[in-house]
Amino acid sequence: MFLQTLVTGLSIGGIYALMAVGYSLVFSVLSFSNFAHGAVIMLGAYMGLGLAAKLNLGLGLVLSGAIAGAGVLAVLNERLAYRALRQRRAPSLYLMISAMGCAVFLENMVYATIGAKPYPFPDKITNQVLDIVRNIISFLGLAAEHSVIEIAGITLSLLDLAAFVISLLSIYALHIFIMKTRTGIAIRAGVDDLTMCSLMGVNTNRLIAVVFFLAGAFAGLAGVYLGIKYYVQPTMGSITNKAYIAAVIGGLGSLPGAFIGGLILGVLETFVSAYISSVWRDVYTFTLLIALLIWLPNGLLGHETEEKV
């Protein structure tokens, strides 16, 4: 029971991590909480759904379409709603309010145009994911049933397993990108001091566009996964509030922090549901958020961020 709960928690945590990365990336450069990220995740899911159901495309094209689409959406979001504020050096709170406005706008536009009805992803896509996971597992010499695998008495859904591995790999890839490439070095310089970075000849507008594209790409990936596992609907954004909490736990602005924070939150929530009460789970989560903000505002791995006066 204990081990099963732990494994379930880790697999949920992987998804939180995937979503938390987007919050952390933007926060690291612009130090504001981009609440529109949740809406981008939701729209990424709708884009994937559109490609899969209307155009009848396969998994690869659906994923790359959703990733690219959500990335472009995030870049557009920055250009239209944040850039003017950024250039005026408005307080980070104004950026957050603007982000909140974007979230409300995008979410309710979906309500008004597409409607509140939840849509499932086509079975074709789900089966494709399961096939790939099963092939990899049998390649490793293990046996998997239709959609679950049993190792040492623990039952694990293949979708959750895939999500955990994908989020681990993609966050690792992002980490390599930021550590090794030229653009990555520019991003790290921007995190340190954006003004200095632009004086040194980095095009900060382009740099920030890259950051938002990366955040959006992760949103697209997470959106498609959420759509496959649950449904695609306008209220998908509410789960992203949890991802934000995960980013706070790990320390906003830190990528390894986002990953660890996601896992901690996933495990914690699963244990609370399993051993205390599943209906009160969210109360614990939000109380934890408030307590963390008060006593550990920089999270586990974040560094000191002070508000500019």
Binding site: M100, C102, A103, V104, Y111, V279, V283, F286, I290
Partner: protein, 290 residues
Amino acid sequence: MSAYIPYITHIFMIVGINIIAVTGLSIFTGFTGLFSLGHAAFVGIGAYISGILTYYEYTNYYVALLAGMAGATVASLIIGIPTLRAKLRSDYFAIATLGFGEALRVTLDNLDITNGARGLGLEVHTTPIVLLFSLVAVLFTASNFLKSRYGAACIAIREDSIAAEMSGVNLFRTRLLSLVLSAAFCGLSGGLLAHYFSFIKPDMFMLVQSTQLLATVIAGGMGSLSGPAIVSLVFMSLPEILRWLEMWRLPAYGLLLVLIMIHRPQGLMGYRELTDFFVIFKRREKGGKN
């Protein structure tokens, strides 16, 4: 003409109830400069406490209204004391209030006494007279509070919290006072709302409603009581008059927030009041900037 009277009364009721909550948030956000994404929770607490008291017939309506206000006040102390004492970054504070609002919604959804997500059906007690009386009382209290030394301290904190602290303003106590007062108004608004619509359920007091309140205050002007009241009149009555607008109300709120932040962060009225327009020439002579 007389056929329109119930209709106009209805609009007056929803606008009036909204203005009470907006005035509450205006004191906290507009005049003290702290942003809250959880004020709908105080409205919800006021609505539920007063609603439960009349639903199970513990007390009469007026006592229930006061109890709702008291409940919202206590809740504001519970969330306010730790967060305001910690002097959080302003965006972290906003997020803490958001967490508080979400936690309250889950609580309301799962308690037996609140009837969970099914909600409570109540009797209608809020008459136009009661509302008018409350509205006048709230606006009178608010404008006097803002003219008092406490109000001046709030405004000083909004303008520059460090300079205010240097001048001897106690940041924690002043901010807490402002939060408590604003929560009390929101609680009253909740009690009136519950007994006007005669039905309450948890999703009437969610993040969306908190954002609506915040949008109204920001759009009306941070540092004005009449600005947010005017915007509240427009926001609440327009979708009632033009029904097809109802669906586009929320997207419009969102878009408006973004546009205001970019183009007019001071809002509709800025730091001015409606009454200022009548004395505008006198002010000019004095050389005042406003």
